[in-house]
Amino acid sequence: MKNIKLFKLNKALALGMIMVLVFGCERDVTDDAVPATFPNTAEVFTDAPVGLTDNFFESFNPAEGYNTLDTFEVVDNESYEGTSSIRIDVPSPDNPNGFLAGGIFRDRGAGRDLSGYDALTFWAKASTTATLASVGFGADFEQDKYPVVANGIQLTTNWTKYVIPIPDPSVLVQERGLFSYIAAPFDVLGDGPNGNEIGWTFWLDEIRFENTGTIGQERPQIFNGQDLVQEVFVGSDITISGLGYTVNLASGLDQTVFPSVNYFTFMSSDTSVATVSESGVVSVVGNGTATITAKIGDVSAEGSLEITAEGAFVNAENPTLPASEVLSVYSDSYTNLSGLNVGAFNNGDIAISTQVFDGNEHIAYENLQFVGVGWDTPIDISGYTHVHVDVQLVSAGSSFIVELLDFGPDGVDNGFGDGSAGGFNATGQLIQDQWVGLDIPISSFTNSTGGGGTGLTTFNNIGYVIFVSNSGDVLIDNIYFFNN
């Protein structure tokens, strides 16, 4: 069978050469019509780097833990094919020069035309059956336009070939980012990153782009392949997330990679309701329903977002007091406290975001159990009688408690030895889907707090405004102290 194929190939080549001989002299297309093309060199590393930059391996940022000194070497004592391979020594967690091994290989020229290939392939073996955190291509430290990574590549102690599919090769007409990888210490016990991981070694060889022809069942995904339905406000923006691309390889196994948003084309079923930018941000522009879908090349993505917009978002009323009469924590009408942090501490499964409508920002807490709004320097509220908070209850029937926490004279959050904390239950005042302006007397923060406070009795070093709920969803705006 192989022989037959070779025979045919030879015939085809011969035929091709004859056609070149016959037609080679014809010039019926002007030079002007020929687009600039870049070399389509397939090889990245064989026994030596092929057409890469002089420094060959370019590390990711050392400030993020990447070790630029101890990890990368071309060796002659190990190879899958030929004489050499790349040896990468993944550091131990306590390596003073960094615990991560990772970087990119770049084309030394203006880039390569990879549009004729359908995969990046390479051979690898490892000193142990560890997992490569990520491997891919497209990162070039310049535009990073078309990065693709596969995560969690399980290596073995034998040389094994790995195939990283290219989602849409037609866009890679000038690519400088030819290879990327990240490896972390091996978590032998599988008990998470806690310092007991060990260093390990792996080797890479025969890194190249290939037109395998054996990649099938292309399945791009947005929103992780889920069909989402969401009610939204006109004027809101939603970033399309959960981008992926799964194919079936010749081995019969699926391989999922995570492509840059730039591989996707996004579509809105009604652009008078929602538009989508090239970078995957949905802008809700009018009332009605629209479905957002995507594709890579000609292949439709699994997953969609159906939005229904019912009017514009109504912001909380702007405060009317002059800035000189308030001590503002968070408000577009005043200056926020320095170092404001709307999630200084919180329950682990909370979702915290800020949303902007008509230039007015508010905070959204979803699944709120407790959250502390903090800032750099404790504030003295002894000159104020009330605190104002605008709250909109999103989830029906949820409780809502405001707490103030005072650090005490030492100005440090170290318990209630010199400080105090108290709560005020505002549940009964809230109205679902409407802003309610709470004006709470400072003297009303008398309830016990979740953190162990027994009522607010000190007022000179307030360090946190805390919100507590029974996993409710609320919007918050305009937190400030004032005199009534």
Partner: protein, 291 residues
């Protein structure tokens, strides 16, 4: 990757055979393959009429095999229940679509379809071919095959089985062709696989065929001959230790009928896994028979 039915001796022989044919091809200026000599069309279903398959040509085998006297799972521990519903078999847009679904049905977790020409079209010798786009995924086991029309009198394997194309969904670049007969069946059948070098069988349609004469069965994919099975070969391959005297007998000399099916699970492919996507469909553009 080697298909487990093949023993080394078979493979060596096959290489010699292919080599011999290669020589003849090399000398053949018009590139007409030996396998495609028969061109007198005697039966064709182009699947051009939407709806159920042509009832004058196709009949259904329904159930899990027990109604046909086989152990549940069609003798292979297959997991599907075959139906004649359009969800499992229909003609649409010029192709026959046979679909394996994941659903609870009559005690099985999967449904699919198996259609045959038994009693409607049976022929001895000739060229049988079909143009098929295959599904994919672990546990998916489609086939285009022939059975001797005397299995009720001469129980399998004596009645003979010619598997023109079998395919396992977790090996998307490989198909295999096999014959079963007395002394050479199941794990000892005579079989060979054909692997696409730069393509997959689920990406597009491919032509699978045999040309069958009194003393040969030639297997081809897209015009590439890859296996020639002869009486001498099956006689040599048959397991004769303690077997009946007819072990190795050439039983491919009576009318056979055509079967198309998509099995799910079973001894050969194993069960579907979490990556197996349902539904999975086999698309058949045509079935043609020449003599």
């Amino acid at each position: 990757m080697d298909f487990k039915y093949i023993n080394i001796r078979t493979r060596t022989l096959m290489v010699i055979c292919v080599g011999a044919i290669l020589c003849s091809l090399n000398c053949d200026t018009d590139e007409t393959q030996e396998v495609a000599r028969l061109t007198n069309l005697v039966m064709a279903d182009e699947f051009n009429i939407d709806g159920a398959p042509d009832p004058s040509l196709w009949t259904y085998e329904i159930g899990d095999g027990t109604a046909q006297g086989l152990p549940a799972g069609w003798g292979n521990n297959e997991l599907q229940y075959y139906t004649d519903r359009p969800e499992n078999v229909r003609v649409e847009n010029g192709v026959l679509i046979m679909t394996a679904n994941e659903e609870s049905f009559a005690g099985s977790n999967y449904t699919s379809a198996r259609i045959t020409t038994q009693g409607l079209f049976e022929q001895q010798y000739g060229r049988f071919e079909a143009r098929i786009r295959l599904p994919y995924g672990k546990g998916i086991w489609p086939a285009f095959w022939l059975l001797g029309n005397d299995c009720d009198q001469n129980p399998w394997p004596q009645c003979g089985e010619i598997d023109i194309m079998e395919y396992l969904g977790n090996q998307p670049t490989v198909v295999f062709g096999t014959v079963h007969g007395p002394g050479y069946n199941a794990g000892d059948s005579v079989s060979k696989e054909y692997q696409l070098e730069n393509d997959r069988f689920d990406n597009d349609f491919h032509v699978f065929g045999i040309e069958w004469g009194p003393d040969y069965i030639n297997y081809y994919v897209d015009g590439d001959l890859y296996q020639k099975i002869t009486p001498e070969l099956v006689d040599e391959e048959a397991v004769k230790d303690g077997d009946p005297a007819n072990a190795g007998q050439w039983v491919f000399n009576r009318p056979f009928y055509i079967i198309l099916n998509v099995a799910v699970g079973g001894n050969l492919p194993g069960a579907p896994n979490t990556q197996t996507v349902f539904p999975q469909s086999m698309y058949v553009d045509y079935v043609r028979v020449y003599n």
